[in-house]
């Protein structure tokens, strides 16, 4: 990819970031909601951990932090409720995006990067700050952990994006992909470790779920934040995320090619 192409994707990301700035009130409402559920989930964990010191290697402080980090990541990784591509296909606006000399996948990936960057600043960090004020969180102990966390979070966004993008693309065939998206949201909520850490899953299920792409959307970045992974484990976890990111992006590109072979735009 040459420099002008990179510039284009940067400009796309920038505009999506700017676009989000228009929704200040909505973001504030979302922030309050995320913090409210962060409070409830952290409180539940504290009660659950009262009788046992650690569960699956998590202390009560770890669990509280896990709850707040997952709340902070909700809109950054955007695990559910994303219909932007589906909407353009349903309304037919997709024809504008397809009649441009850029990669359709790259176009949406860049926009999602801009969206995620916005939510890191205006949702994720404020939610963590509120968690710190209300409960006191367990923060990474060294700058290196922050670097690893940033890498893991970036990969989490890419994996999540490619997954959402694929689900949205089904609209090319079904004309309304909201049903399958809702079903997928329920699955992801559970398998990503959002509801509870995958490490708390029963033995027979845990290994498999940890290898699935969904673990890379929440569980792995949270574990990096909590310094549960280091050395080879850390490299393996990031490698797994990278593997799924590449695999999903390739799949997405294949589906884009198939889909654009059969664009049936709604409304003629």
């Amino acid at each position: 990819m040459d420099r002008t192409a990179l510039r284009l994707y940067f400009e796309l990301a920038k505009r999506q970031f700017q676009r989000q700035l228009a929704f200040r009130t909505a973001n504030l409402a979302g922030l309050v909601t995320n913090a409210f559920f962060g409070y409830i989930r952290a409180t539940v964990f504290i009660v659950a951990f009262r009788s046992q010191g650690t569960i699956a290697g998590y202390s009560a402080a770890d669990a509280v932090t896990y709850a707040w980090v997952t709340q902070a990541l909700i809109m950054v990784v955007h695990l559910w409720g994303w219909y932007e591509v589906e909407r353009t296909i349903r309304t037919g606006d997709v024809v504008s995006d397809l009649s441009k000399p850029f990669s359709y996948l790259g176009f949406w990936l860049a926009k999602d990067a801009g969206r995620a960057a916005y939510f890191v600043l205006f949702r994720g960090l404020p939610v963590l700050a509120l968690g710190q004020v209300m409960f006191g969180l367990r923060w990474p102990s060294s700058p290196l952990v922050w670097v690893a966390f940033a890498a893991s979070l970036t990969l989490a966004v890419v994996v999540s994006f490619a997954w959402r993008f694929l689900l949205n693309l089904t609209a090319f065939w079904t004309t309304d992909a909201r049903g399958i998206n809702q079903l997928a949201a329920a699955v992801v909520l559970f398998l990503s470790g959002f509801v509870m850490p995958i490490r708390l899953f029963p033995d027979w299920l845990r290994g498999a779920v940890l290898a699935l792409p969904f673990a890379g959307m929440t569980q792995i970045p949270c574990d990096v934040f909590l310094e549960r992974l280091d050395g080879a484990d850390l490299a393996g976890a990031l490698g797994l995320q990278a593997f799924w990111a590449v695999a999903f992006l390739l799949a997405a590109q294949v589906v884009v090619v198939l889909a654009t072979r059969r664009v049936v735009t709604q409304g003629g």
């Binding site: 309304t91 504008s96 995006d97 003629g268």
Partner: protein, 337 residues
């Protein structure tokens, strides 16, 4: 070589046939039957550089489908398309660099951002050199009078303003061809007029080839030297507007006001090669076919038999002619006129 060449183009969609009723809906899940819709059914035409064409046709005739194949976002079922020497669907990126598209009922502008942000982005999308971009932006700001709303979010623009923004967006990269899908739809009289002025200027001064689809006959009458009429996926007319009048608008009407000072004329007027189709006191409408007689001959006949105060000749309205063509073609859709 022509700028755009289309030869025996077909596009067939496979559509599921649904069974009726609630039980039918369930039955459709397991027992699905398909039928083919021939949206575009063997169209051929070619367009030279600098032409301005209007494409007419009733809703669902295949106009938009044809435009989508020309831009490369839809793959033809069969037939050949070449735009600037490329097959659009194989070389989508190469083709779209040289074309601009405006779909009248959609927008490519970023809804939540100031208009200028959408325009600036296109500089990177099409890799327009900075100097050229500034020149074009300056020109379109003037021609389309964009300045009053250049910094307003697109969501706040009126439809007319948004269309002007969309036009600028489609043209900043100096496309050779501009496709406009119903560009004047929903616009008020003033906005339509401005839009047409702009398109004329664009075609004349920048040599942009324009292909527009429309339901508004005035668009075609005022802009297009050449007219394509598509119906049921077939090209049923390709030629000038005057020729279509000559060919299909052969029925003209002579309106006469009789001088009835010396007593009213009772019953319909009796003149050869014409028949009275309407009477309102002394005013009579005589329909005649230009194949049977000329206006001059008819006037001479009428004046010889009746005393006249005044007369006018009504040309058939182009809209009425087109309506007749649509109606004819729906009866004989398999036959090319």
């Amino acid at each position: 070589m022509a700028l755009i060449e289309v030869e025996n183009l077909h596009k067939t969609f496979r559509v599921a046939r649904h069974h009726r009723g609630a039980l039918g809906a369930i039955r459709s899940l397991v027992d699905r039957q398909y039928f083919d819709v021939h949206a575009v059914d063997g169209i051929s035409f070619s367009i030279e550089r600098g032409e301005m064409l209007g494409c007419l046709g009733p809703n669902g005739a295949g106009k938009s489908t044809t435009i989508k194949m020309l831009t490369g976002i839809l793959v033809p079922s069969s037939g050949r398309i070449e735009v600037l020497g490329f097959e659009p669907y194989r070389r989508r990126k190469d083709v779209v660099r040289h074309i601009g598209v405006v779909f009248g009922q959609r927008t490519q502008l970023w809804w939540d951002l100031p208009l200028i942000e959408s325009l600036d982005l296109l500089r990177y999308v099409y890799r327009v050199p900075a100097g050229r971009y500034e020149e074009n932006l300056h020109a379109f700001r003037r021609l389309l009078d964009l300045d009053p709303f250049l910094n307003s979010p697109v969501r706040q623009l009126s439809l007319g303003q948004r269309m002007r923004g969309d036009l600028a967006a489609a043209l900043l990269h100096d496309p050779s061809v501009l496709y406009l899908d119903e560009p004047t739809i929903g616009l008020d009289v003033v906005a339509k007029h401005r839009m047409r002025d702009f398109l004329r200027t664009l075609n004349r001064e920048r040599g942009v080839t324009v292909l527009l689809t429309t339901h508004d006959m005035a668009d075609v009458e005022q802009l297009c030297a050449r007219l394509l009429i598509i119906d049921h996926g077939k090209l049923i007319y390709d030629g000038s507007l005057e020729a279509i009048r000559d060919r299909f608008g052969t029925e003209r009407t002579l309106v006469v006001d009789l001088d009835e000072q010396n007593g009213a004329v009772n019953g319909p007027l009796d003149v050869p090669h014409a028949r009275e189709i309407r009477a309102d006191g002394p005013r009579r409408w005589l329909s005649f076919n230009r194949a049977d007689t000329t206006a001059a001959e008819l006037i001479a006949h009428v004046a010889a038999r009746y005393r006249l105060r005044d007369l006018t000749i009504e040309e058939p309205e182009i809209e009425a002619i087109i309506r007749r063509i649509y109606e004819d073609s729906s009866g004989i859709s398999s036959q090319t006129l």
